[in-house]
């Protein structure tokens, strides 16, 4: 279900100030392994009081339909993220074509390589 509810004409729009930030339960990042042999992949986040209930909640929120065979729950605060401003130093821009297999011409008669 969805729908963006319009403001009532003449009524002052909903306050953008939502009050003080607080969360009763910490946030966890959830990863699901789709099948044995594949890596766990991030599927989303949720709130839970502890690790045990994080896994139980993950089961309710993210695995209602044969999504996989294994779950990871990781406290969101434990995720170390790279600084977006340092993207250039962490990810190679395309200045080193010699690192790619396609940079090398192999004659057709050699066959697949």
């Amino acid at each position: 279900m969805t729908y963006s509810v319009p403001d009532v004409p003449g009524e002052s729009p909903a306050k953008s100030d939502l009050g003080e930030a607080s969360n009763v339960w910490p946030m966890w990042e959830i990863f699901v392994r789709q099948t044995r042999g594949l890596a766990h992949v991030h599927v989303g986040s949720l709130h839970a009081a502890d690790a045990e209930t994080a896994l139980q909640n993950a089961r309710d929120v993210y695995t209602r339909r044969q999504e996989g065979v294994s779950l990871w729950a990781v406290p969101s605060v434990e995720i170390v993220a790279s600084d977006p401003d340092e993207t250039d130093s962490l990810f190679e821009v395309n200045t080193k074509p010699y690192r790619d297999a396609t940079a090398y011409n192999i004659p057709d008669e050699v066959g697949h390589m």
Partner: protein, 316 residues
């Protein structure tokens, strides 16, 4: 590289690329998304009530199992959406508090009552059908976390719509009472379903900005037309009559023409004067208050376990 300023933001929007949480974005874009994703999440959560009303009275175990699964999905959709909203710098508790205080609204469709069993079919077919029309569009929305949540939700909504339509097929094949029950249901839900797409484009306060930002990709009226065109043949198949004397195929336009929507009713329900506005919010607030001890107990348990673990490590 995260976006740094308006120019970079504009370039990403123009290129049909996605905005991600760490990017620079205009305040208005952030506020619009918090409001829209928040209200979308609230709609999923409040939307559990009209259908939950029938779980204990489902006619067979099979239908009861389907309905439980569907209501559970709606709860899940609410949670994915709250998570998407949280990437914009609000907390779950702030959003829930805004719903409880009435400063955030939810879709007006859920302020209508589910009076008979056929309503469970009609909600899946029409209400979820209208929602899918909207949500397929939103899966192309410019904000990455919102668009990703939509992809997952659309997959599950498809089950919702199909089970509802199939429920109505069974009823319409049944006794004359069952068919009459189905007709009564579409008579009550047709117009509110059309209202779900919001005011006409000419009267829509948020549309222009949302369209420029590519949060919204298709106008209210175009989505509504798309929904009517898809739904009329489905009603015909069921042998049900759509309660609109002006509904007619327009060969020239290649679309169905339909009659005027009662916008007075629409605004009354948005303002809080619909059949069940008060009950829905009272029920939601009561459930939150009744669950307070569970939330507190879970935190107390987690703290006790952590303290025990600390103690056992210290003495080991």
């Amino acid at each position: 590289m995260a976006l740094q300023d308006q120019a970079e933001f504009d370039a990403v929007i123009a290129a049909d690329d996605k905005i991600e949480p760490t990017d620079w974005m205009p305040d208005g874009y952030r506020k619009t998304l918090i409001r829209q994703i928040g209200q979308h999440a609230h709609s999923e959560i409040i939307g559990m009530q009209p259908e939950g009303n029938w779980i204990s009275r489902a006619p067979t175990l099979h239908r009861k199992a389907i309905l439980i699964a569907k209501v559970q999905d709606e709860g899940g959709h609410g949670l994915y959406l709250y998570s998407a909203a949280e990437t914009l710098g609000v907390t779950r508790d702030q959003l829930v508090a805004a719903l409880h205080a009435g400063s955030h609204k939810y879709s007006s469709i859920f302020n209508y009552p589910t009076l008979n069993w056929a309503d469970i079919g009609t909600i899946g077919w029409l209400v979820d059908g209208a929602a899918i029309t909207n949500q397929v569009m939103l899966s192309r929305s410019s904000y990455g976390p919102y668009s990703r949540a939509m992809v997952r939700i659309c997959k599950e909504e498809s089950f919702h719509q199909r089970q509802g339509y199939e429920l109505l097929i069974r009823l319409c094949e049944g006794s004359s009472e069952q068919k009459a029950m189905s007709q009564d249901s579409i008579d009550r839900w047709w117009w509110p379903a059309l209202m779900m797409f919001g005011p006409h484009d000419s009267d829509s306060t948020h549309s222009a900005e949302s369209t420029a930002w590519k949060i919204k990709r298709v106008s209210n009226d175009d989505l509504r037309q798309q929904f009517v065109d898809a739904t009329v043949p489905q009603a015909d198949y069921l042998g049900l009559h759509i309660p609109d004397p002006d509904l007619v195929w327009n060969e020239e336009r290649g679309h169905y023409d339909f009659g005027p929507i009662d916008w007075e009713e629409f605004w009354q329900v948005v303002k809080g004067n619909g059949p069940l506005n008060r009950e829905r919010l009272d029920h939601k607030r009561a459930a939150w208050d009744d669950g307070a001890w569970v939330r507190e107990a879970a935190v107390a348990h987690a703290e006790k376990q952590a303290a025990r673990e600390f103690e056992s490590r210290r003495t080991a």
